[in-house]
């Protein structure tokens, strides 16, 4: 477990920075709700067309609080993709970056197997992502208690963060796969970010326009529309399974490539 420990130690600074960033963003967005949320509420109540649109788009949403609607629009819709940059940066740093810097050569000259190196680095990432989701949830609970007087669906929010965690797991697998393909950090970073952004835009575009939904289903973001629970009131455990499978398959592919890869700094 040494590589796992070293990876966590190396990431301490970044973990603190990202945690602080997430807490700040969550708190900032929620702190705006008492002011902006009231405006939205009066606008929606006065405009039957908008109310009708919300009813059409998400019939069950109408029965929910305006705070849920606020969180759906302003936070949950992009939390996954924003935090999704963490696994990308991490994976390209510890694989292609370390290869480029020559530190991976030094590591693999020690009595550790390649499999162990990759698995322990991946495990460290999964723990870090879990911590980031917990920080996100804790910040949301704290900020809501501080600024919001309405009823909040804390249990459903917890599920949304869990669903986001599985999305991050899938993105972590994809990032490791991309990072093992290339020997230099920048191209690997570009490839990973490209893959994730293209699939996010594809999902948003297709599902928003309501066309080629079969294609939208091929992106991980389809299974991580965390607001689904707020629209339908149902928990989709199957989505989490799909995301876990995507992450596992891509990580397994990364392992196969890494085992066969020539390590030349």
């Amino acid at each position: 477990m040494k590589i796992f420990q070293f990876s966590l130690k190396d990431e301490r600074g970044w973990l603190l920075l990202w945690s602080a960033g997430i807490a700040l963003v969550v708190s900032f967005i929620i702190s705006l709700y008492p002011t902006l949320g009231e405006m939205i509420r009066s606008f929606v109540d006065k405009t039957s067309m908008i109310k009708g649109f919300i009813g059409l788009y998400a019939p069950l949403m109408v029965g929910r609080s305006y705070f849920d609607l606020w969180l759906c629009m302003e936070f949950f819709s992009y939390f996954g993709v924003l935090v999704g940059f963490y696994p990308v940066i991490y994976a390209t740093g510890v694989i292609s970056g370390d290869m480029e810097r020559g530190t991976l050569e030094m590591l693999l000259a020690q009595p550790v197997s390649r499999r162990r190196v990759l698995v322990e680095k991946f495990a460290a990432l999964l723990l870090i992502l879990l911590l980031l989701c917990i920080v996100g949830y804790a910040s949301l609970v704290g900020a809501t208690a501080l600024w919001v007087q309405e009823k909040a669906s804390f249990l459903e929010y917890a599920y949304i963060f869990l669903n986001n965690y599985f999305l991050l797991l899938a993105l972590a697998g994809v990032s490791f796969f991309c990072a093992t393909l290339l020997n230099e950090q920048r191209p690997a970073l570009g490839l990973s970010i490209g893959v994730i952004l293209v699939s996010f835009i594809l999902y948003k575009g297709l599902s928003g326009a309501g066309i080629a939904l079969w294609l939208a289903r091929l992106t991980p973001f389809f299974y991580a529309d965390a607001t689904k629970i707020l629209y339908t009131g149902q928990i989709h455990w199957g989505d989490n399974l799909v995301l876990a499978a995507v992450g596992t398959v891509f990580f397994a592919l990364a392992l196969v490539i890494f085992q066969r890869k020539d390590i030349a700094g």
């Binding site: 810097r101 020559g102 530190t103 030094m106 000259a109 009595p111 550790v112 197997s113 390590i263 030349a264």
Partner: protein, 280 residues
Amino acid sequence: MEDLDLRVEKGEVFGFLGPNGAGKTTTIRLLLGLIRPTRGQAIIFGTPIDSGSSSLRRHLGYLPGDLGLPSHLTGGEFLARMAALRGGEPGRKAEQLSRRLDLDLSRKIKGLSHGTRQKLGIVQALMHEARLLILDEPSSGLDPLAQQVFYELIQEEREQGRTVFLSSHLLNEVERTCVRVGVIREGRLVVIEAIQELRKKRVKWAEVELTREVDPDTFRVPGVRSIQQEGKKLRLALEGHYQEVLQVLARSPIGDLTIRDASLEEIFLEYYAEDKDRQP
């Protein structure tokens, strides 16, 4: 790499000599299982090497040619991590080595000079007391004092029965530390020879500036392999015995005299020429 066939005996200090880009680092990476050969195999302690030979690497100490160190750590933290991967701690040997190489382990690697990083790499490779040391261009960037300490360390490792495989492009370094040497050029092993034999073949150049013209045949004595003349300037290739040529030089009207070792490239050219001559 092509047709590379060499065997290093237990307890031997073997020098792997070649110019930059000859294939020394590639060979070493093959030995460590970092890259895979398209055909053939490397065997260490009777075990074929592949990327999964992690337990075998417990017996290896390695210093890479392109030394990559985690810049955010101190030297001490780096050594502790490397030792921890072998289930231990840096121990007394690391302390001794650091002291002898005048290495401050409390400083961040980020702020270390190239030479100091190299010292850290050497400590890391030697501290495990591994049975086999694989050192790629080990004295690169070391100051003369640290080089001297490094040669002493290699001598001590040899006395303790460790096997050392050392690559270099510096003939002097290999001469000082190794028993046998393999010369590689353009991915092919040109020759394997005992250092004693290599010394015999080694050419020195005497560049003589005369105060007046002298018949170059005066210098055709045993030990002079070839003579080139340009007016009052003579270039003598010396080989083996120097006694007679020194006597001739002492009698000659010499304005200036320089005697230097043939460069590695010149020796390679000699081997290469011989190699080509042998081909049908």
